[in-house]
Symmetry: C2
Subunit: 112 residues, 2 copies
């Protein structure tokens, strides 16, 4: 077993097409020996966003700090600290920070 201290986590900029002002750190994944899934910490600056896209794996999400929305084909769902969220495989989605607030969340995906 292992514990990774918060201060040892260094999020790195995400340069994926369609992403703006996003940083990510893998907290627990293959490097830590996790056999099935990968837990990442994702930080958006105010007005930052992930790509509006879909992929064949799901997202299991927990909001840590800040405000924003989870955007999909049917509109926006608001996100606040303590909220959890689920994006099914194949569904178009985007995380968008609020105009004047950053947004930080955990996003767990299956190991690929």
């Amino acid at each position: 077993m292992l514990v990774k201290e918060a201060r040892d986590v260094r999020p790195q900029p995400v340069h994926d097409e369609g992403a703006a002002n996003v940083r990510m750190a893998v907290l627990i994944g293959p490097d830590e020996g996790a056999p099935n899934f990968v837990m990442r910490r994702i930080e958006l600056d105010a007005q930052g966003h992930t790509p509006y896209h879909s992929h064949p794996w799901e997202h299991v999400v927990f909001v840590l700090e800040g405000l924003g929305v989870l955007r999909g084909e049917k509109g926006d769902l608001p996100l606040s600290p303590g909220d959890s969220a689920f994006v099914p495989p194949g569904e178009v989605h985007q995380f968008v920070a609020a105009e004047e607030s950053p947004l930080t969340f955990l996003c767990t995906i299956p190991k690929r």
Copy 2:
């Protein structure tokens, strides 16, 4: 996709043998359509603890609030907010809240 608001989560007491002053809520799991894993929110009162046990599935953990330790065969690893942790399948472990602080964490497991 869905968002489950923090205020709609109602942790329930855990009465497993070896558990003391533990409550748990499933945040995202089969009921939300998650195909691969289950994210739970676990709350220990001060001095509360989960069972000292092992099982053939892993834990992927993120500490939300409070203080405590992750106990294993080699001793205790301290836990503070923002820390993440990994317990491999088959390894004996126990989560223990501090003497004077509760401990709240997310614990994700594979769907069984």
